[in-house]
């Protein structure tokens, strides 16, 4: 099989995910784009596992530093990534819902990353 096909697919998925993160205004859509990115990465892991593993047939395992020599390491990593994605979505959506409770909307534009200065502090600082 030509390994370049899944690789390119994964690259395109990752690119689409980045595009989605930077373009979408709704927080949940941003999370969906993040899922796309994670899946792209997973695909690369699995493809690499298949290709490199097959290329390493006949090589002594101990000759390679751990964990590169482990069989199915890429697939195992992909599993771990899925678990992490699940955890991330859970916490992320909890935050989004809490934010929705405060603001009645989940528009990413209005999320201020800095602490809004207290009016008295502002006068002192200026």
């Amino acid at each position: 099989m030509h390994a370049v096909i899944p690789y390119v697919t994964a690259a395109l998925l990752f690119g689409l995910g980045v595009y989605g993160v930077l373009r979408r205004r709704n927080a949940i859509l941003v999370l969906m784009a993040v899922e796309l990115m994670l899946n792209g990465v997973n695909l690369i892991f699995v493809t690499a596992d298949a290709t490199i593993r097959s290329a390493l047939v006949g090589v002594q395992v101990e000759a390679w530093a751990y964990p590169n020599g482990e069989p199915h390491a890429g697939a195992v990593f992909a599993l771990f990534v899925i678990v992490l994605a699940a955890a991330e979505v859970g916490v992320g959506l909890a935050i989004v819902l809490q934010y929705y409770r405060l603001r009645q909307a989940v528009v990413v534009d209005e999320v201020a990353l800095h602490h809004e200065p207290h009016p008295a502090d502002e006068q002192v600082a200026s």
Partner: protein, 187 residues
Amino acid sequence: MTVADALLLALGAVAVGSGFLVVTSVHLVRAGLYLVISLGAIAGLYLVLGAELVAWVQVLVYVGAVVVLLLFAVMLTRAPIGASKDLDRPATPALLIGGGVGLGLAVLLVDAFRWTIYPQAETGTAERMGEQIFGAWVLPFEVLSILLLAALVGAIVLSRPDLGARRPAPVTADVSSEASVPETAEG
């Protein structure tokens, strides 16, 4: 061009196509459903590449749980069911960077692998995967379970209704003061 290749091409096209629709659709719910299709295609890719366990876990967890959670959130945040116009921010930076990343990575990978043919690898069955997970990767596995616990607790804490209030609650008067605190969120 073997069967595997054809399958890879087809499934890859489906995945990329629906992924494209996820990030460009103006319907919120349809975006979620397109995500389902994309994730499913990716699961199919996993199968072709020989990672069986990963494929089924993908379907179970990603498609079954994560996307459902996302759709729940869509509904809980009263997202418009029909088309909504202001879902998107300006396109230029996103196009530049997203396009740059995607195409850059693609070029890199094509340059690395070219049209090399790799033989089919042995499938990652549950048995083999289990050997690895509980063998070489047991420590990360345990840590992951702690992480899941933390995520669970965190999600519960973050969902508390009185999270916006800023007064320290005294230990004994917890019950009475909670009742008198005005809801900062709803209404």
